[in-house]
Subunit: 317 residues, 2 copies
């Protein structure tokens, strides 16, 4: 297993996965530009395979394995987009995927994993139970763990989105990325600083799950009790991700829950594209004035579009 | 004013408007293909300027005018996407747009017209009041009427979507288009049959607004009392549109209201793209098995994406 992350690893990842993922489009809007005074570019990873950038990292991890490693399959614990992404990647390689999920995981997420041929192993909805169930599956099957973010192969895969973004829009001044565990953020920072050293990389995080913000400002990795609608960003920064983020990221900003909902709604309404709450967090930072964008070319990764259409946040209350 | 419609007029329209509109992308989905047994291509006019294909016809009409015609402005009566499209086109040409709207038109539609610099003239919400108000505005200002669909310049503009579609996907077997007044349908039929005579052109219509279906089957233009969620398709077939449809369209099929909602939801969920109910009608015909698609390459125009996010149909009841 590769134990570092550099531009070369990300370029290799791109060569490895590019025929197995979508090259996602970049959208712009004169309305949104006029409102903020900057020029915004949105890379639509909500249109990626499995509806999220997670397809990149999972595919790179699975196709980085040797045949003898791969044959016994892969395993992870996730109730989110990484679960479906890993099931799909394993299916493409023709090996089993064992996905540990809490018993209360949404039916739609379970269906997505099964739809890609993944085998679900249910556990109690606690982190300890998830880790124990995952360890047991690995011991029984010999499957290789593919962690959702704390894994250099996964980070390299996620970094390919920024690589494509800078190919399509080479003159970006700022790259704005949401941060949960830090897989996308660390990959994006290494890719974009590698290609364009002068670019500013800023992470956006819900104020109600601000472990990355606190960790970045203090230099010490901390955890917090997350309570945010942005379900993809409730995880804490990974051990392998944190040093990269500390070294390569220029700033971390936080946004309110109301800002996330307003940003999500605005993007649906103006860009006509369906994004999940986690994907709205960077644009929420623009709406809330958390970073200077006037006169700047700002790249925003719309990370995913998997959402329960029966439970839209603006329908509540 | 041009008094006929042929492929050449549509090609001229495309040359006239192409730098004033978006070349919209075509989306596909392996999931949706597997479900229906055909290969579906979705042309995303919901991503068009003003969020609907109506930008094409309105722009062609406004830029077809001579300077002496254009200087006094344009007028229409519409509470839908044509209103915003005409306001935008007039603004691009630097002439006034007078838009007659019923007093009960949605605030969002009024805001869109004003946002593009259109002047709204309010009237009572009856067809007679709309026509009277429009005639009065034209008499007072000398503005030229640009009808939403019963106008050859508008039809030629709408036909440019099919022209682009067949450039991008030349081997389509079937083109599936929703029908309201028939502007898009007549333009699409002439464009696609002109480019590819063997293509099958099928119109899809809500069963609860089935004037085009009845007119097509009987050969006589009839009107019905429309009662459908697909608000863009409540209008009756235009006098100039009907003979073209009768001569060039291969079939008209109808779909249920439940089918429209299910199709709209499926497209949001799988394609991650926001469409309005009228735009879901062709895919509803596929879902309801109203035409044979197994083994066929089927082009579907997603006509628009302007919808009130506070009132989604599946949230009701």
């Amino acid at each position: 297993m590769s134990e570092s992350l550099d531009l070369n690893a990300i370029r290799e990842a791109h060569a490895r996965i590019r025929d197995k993922i979508h090259r996602t489009p970049v959208m712009t809007s004169a309305w949104l530009d006029a409102e903020c005074g900057g020029k915004l570019y949105f890379k639509c990873e909500n249109l990626q395979k499995v509806g999220a950038f997670k397809a990149r990292g999972a595919t790179n991890a699975v196709f980085s394995l040797s045949d003898s490693e791969a044959v016994k399959g892969v395993a992870t614990h996730s109730s989110g987009n990484h679960a479906a992404a890993l099931a799909r990647a394993a299916s493409l390689r023709g090996v089993p995927a064992h996905i540990v999920m809490p018993t209360n995981a949404p039916k739609s997420k379970q269906a997505a994993v099964r739809g890609y041929g993944g085998v679900i192993v249910f556990c109690e909805p606690t982190l300890a139970a998830r880790e124990a169930a995952c360890a047991q599956v690995m011991a029984e099957t010999g499957a290789v763990l593919v962690h959702p973010y704390d894994d250099f192969r996964v980070m390299a895969g996620q970094g390919t989105a920024a690589l494509e973004f800078l190919e399509d829009v080479p003159d970006l001044d700022i790259l704005l990325v949401p941060v949960g565990g830090g897989g996308l953020l660390s990959g994006s920072a290494v890719a974009s600083k590698g290609v364009k050293p002068g670019i500013r990389v800023v992470a956006a995080e819900p104020a109600q799950a601000d472990d990355a913000f606190r960790s970045f400002k203090s230099g010490q990795r901390v955890t917090v009790q997350a309570n945010t609608i942005a379900d993809g960003l409730r995880t804490s920064i990974g051990a392998r991700n944190f040093p990269i983020i500390l070294g390569q990221v220029d700033d971390v900003v936080t946004v309110s829950e109301e800002g996330i909902v307003a940003a999500m709604r605005r993007i649906w309404s103006v860009l006509k594209t369906v994004i999940e709450p986690s994907a709205a967090v960077p644009y929420a930072a623009v709406l809330e004035g958390k970073l200077p964008v006037v006169g700047k070319r700002v790249g925003i990764i719309l990370t995913g579009g998997n959402i329960d259409l029966d439970a839209l946040p603006w329908m509540k209350g």
